[in-house]
């Protein structure tokens, strides 16, 4: 069988020196992707549905105390631990290098959620059918499903945006331009800490930034080969 290849390999760079932890990306992602509204009790139970979280670490002790922010989203690993363990192929790797989640195939074993070392997969423990009291449901995007209960979900690099742009580019007979497609989080980030693009194109902005000496990837020792490069912050050059 022919292997399906793609000229695109989507990747992201998150510059931790620029990230201020403001949280705009979190709300943008929620708005774009029909992520359920979770109230206090649900979050207390450990069942927040945010696809993107900003981890905040305290380092040191007062008064030599520092804060480190780390936006964590699906790393779209090239060797994703979540993919081999799904018994029904609901978690799969697409030719663009994205880790995809097929909601209507998911049986809900949650094995992928356990095996994701970054814990970016969130599960619909609650039935979120009524998470949007009328007329809030008017805000729901028609480009993306509203997930049922018992189904795993996670960041998709706003695949609906990528698909749209691909369609338009194809219709015009051209490649996607650098910066033409931006996931919601990247688009809204005030400090431009997040950059997205085609890592297979060495001239794209994301490619250039991913070659920075400050680069590192999360939990690199696990060999997951994430598609997200972080740039070390705080003025520290060496990782």
């Amino acid at each position: 069988m022919e292997k399906i290849t793609s000229p695109y390999k989507w990747g992201m760079v998150i510059d931790l020196d620029r990230c201020t932890g403001c949280g705009a990306c979190v709300v943008a992602c929620q708005a774009e992707n029909n992520v359920a509204i979770c109230e206090k009790k649900e979050i207390a139970e450990g069942r927040n549905m945010h696809w993107l979280r900003i981890e905040r670490f305290w380092v040191g002790e007062y008064p030599d105390i520092r804060v480190r922010f780390l936006p964590v989203l699906c790393q779209h690993c090239h060797d994703a631990p979540c993919e081999p363990v799904c018994p029904v192929y609901a978690s799969y790797h697409n030719p663009d290098g994205l880790n995809g989640q097929v909601y209507n195939r998911c049986v809900g074993t949650r094995y992928c959620g356990n095996n994701c070392p970054y814990a970016v997969r969130v599960f619909n423990f609650h039935d979120h059918e009524h998470a949007w009291p009328s007329p809030l449901e008017n805000q729901l995007s028609p480009d993306i499903t509203v997930r049922s209960r018992g189904v795993m979900e996670k960041c998709s690099f706003c695949i609906q945006r990528i698909r749209r742009v691909k369609e338009d580019a194809k219709a015009e007979g051209r490649m996607i331009k650098d910066g033409e497609v931006q996931p919601a989080c990247v688009q809204t980030c005030p400090t431009e800490a997040m950059v997205f693009g085609n890592i297979a194109d060495p001239r794209s902005r994301v490619s250039r930034l991913s070659r920075s000496p400050r680069r590192f990837r999360l939990l690199e020792n696990l060999g997951t080969h994430p598609s997200i490069y972080y740039l070390k912050g705080g003025g520290r050059e060496h990782v």
């Binding site: 981890e55 363990v85 029904v88 049986v107 814990a119 997969r121 696990l222």
Partner: protein, 457 residues
């Protein structure tokens, strides 16, 4: 002087059969009471599960990051327990240990029932149970196929194989006994037993085939059993979860399963012996030998556990050591109970013949072992997930009433299956026990009387 054979020799065939088939007499009110109580708990568990299925999984205690909880602990525990029959029946059959005979049936039945209970849990814990058939490789117009790289599919395959295999093993071994029951039964019962006995007449040829088949099944079921629990172990060890990612898991789990199974068989033996008055058939000698087996297994288990902890400590991989410390700190009483019940107590106590031969002592030890094994499953699953690689989302888990209800229903369901089985099927392996009687003779060699048992080639 071995007691059972002489006891057998002293009684008539009918009397022997009567005694061994005593469990199948008309049920007393006590039996009804027990069955009713167990049935009630099972019904409660089923309704709790139905509630879960009608609502959503938020009725459990599961969250992120602990996405597997007591349901999976149950799953692993019951799979472990299913090694009882295989070990006792198959291994002892192949090693021709005669003292296996009275307990064969009970052990094999335990295997079938526990693997059945185990097989329910992967369906119970699903987010969308109603599409569980996606696991099956059936032809469909969407061109979809399940993912055989996933340990869960290996689980499905292995457990299916094991259920079928152990059921066959049980049924096969029961054939001659079913014939005995058929011969003693009347009315509609006779008809049913006749069908089940498959026309067994006890001819020489049938015995020859039966011997061959039983031996073959015994030989085949052992690798299945080992692979089943290794596969269940791989559910954990092929992941990147700290505390799970360890190559010792498959042998460790198999050993744990054997420990659990053997202890459960001993417990079962004690119960059956008491309930069905089989004191002459299940003698202190049996417990002595089972105790020795248990001692060996517990030593192995202790070694495996030590290896696991020692490699974690020595490598001191930060997150792995973090997981271990967390577990030891948060679940200290459970950890201590587990280590004492599974290692310290059995290893020390079972060295003494007196203890091995004491039914009361063995009951205490074996029940403690199984409690400890359940704890051990829980302590493998929950602490590792609570403290995964990313410290910001560390969490916690405690089972909800729904999960506990289903757990209780599993235990009671298992027991209920046993209770029903004992009523309708020969609980003691009549044929095997009688066989011993047939084979045994005391031969005079010169001035000594030698106790002999003949074996077929």
């Amino acid at each position: 002087m071995s007691e059972p054979e002489h006891a057998l020799a002293a009684k008539s065939a009918v009397q022997l059969n009567d005694e061994m088939l005593s469990s199948m007499r008309t049920p007393t009110w006590r039996w009804y009471g027990l069955a009713f109580f167990l049935g009630a708990v099972v019904a409660w568990g089923i309704s709790a599960f139905t509630y879960q299925m009608m609502t959503d999984l938020s009725v459990t205690g599961l969250d992120r990051p602990v996405m597997w909880g007591i349901y999976i602990a149950n799953f692993v525990f019951w799979v472990g327990l299913s090694h009882s029959g295989t070990m006792v029946s198959a291994i002892l059959r192949l090693s021709q240990a005669n003292w296996r005979r009275p307990i064969l049936r009970a052990a094999e039945a335990m295997t079938v029932f526990s693997i059945t209970v185990a097989g329910l849990f992967p369906v119970i814990h699903l987010g969308r149970n109603w599409v569980v058939y996606y696991f099956m490789p059936y032809p469909n117009q969407r061109g979809l196929w399940p993912n055989f790289r996933s340990p869960l599919l290996w689980d499905a395959t292995a457990i299916t194989t094991y259920i079928i295999g152990s059921s066959l093993f049980l049924y096969l071994g029961m054939l001659p006994d079913l014939a005995v029951v058929r011969d003693r039964a009347s009315g509609w019962r006779k008809k049913i037993y006749a069908i089940l006995a498959m026309g067994w007449r006890g001819t020489a040829r049938e015995w020859v085939v039966f011997r061959k088949a039983s031996t073959l099944m015994a030989a085949l079921i052992i690798p299945v059993a080992v692979s089943v629990h290794s596969i269940v172990a791989w559910d954990f060890s092929v992941t990147v979860v700290p505390g799970w990612h360890s190559t010792i898991f498959p042998p460790y789990f198999v050993i744990g399963a054997i420990t659990s199974g053997v202890a459960a068989v001993i417990t079962l033996m004690i119960i059956i012996r008491r309930v069905f008055h089989l004191e002459e058939y299940l003698t202190p000698l049996h417990f002595d030998n089972m105790g020795k087996l248990l001692l060996v297994i517990c030593l192995l288990w202790a070694y495996a556990y030590f290896v696991e902890v020692q490699t974690t400590w020595y490598a001191h991989e930060p997150i792995e050591w973090e997981v271990w410390s967390f577990m030891a700190g948060k679940y200290t009483p459970f950890l201590i109970l587990m280590l004492i019940s599974n290692a310290v107590l059995p290893i020390f106590a079972l060295c003494f013949k007196k203890i091995r031969r004491s039914v009361k002592a063995m009951l205490v030890i074996t029940v403690l072992i199984n409690i400890a094994m359940f704890i051990e499953r829980y302590l493998i699953i929950v602490p590792s997930l609570s403290h995964k690689n990313m410290p910001f989302i560390w969490g916690s888990y405690s089972p909800s009433w729904v999960e506990l209800s289903v757990t209780a229903a599993a235990f009671c369901g298992f027991t209920l299956m046993y209770v029903l089985f004992a009523k309708f099927f020969p609980m003691v392996a009549v044929t095997d026990v009688r066989e011993l009687g047939v084979r045994h003779s005391d031969i005079r060699l010169g001035r000594t009387e030698v106790h002999t048992i003949s074996e077929e080639e």
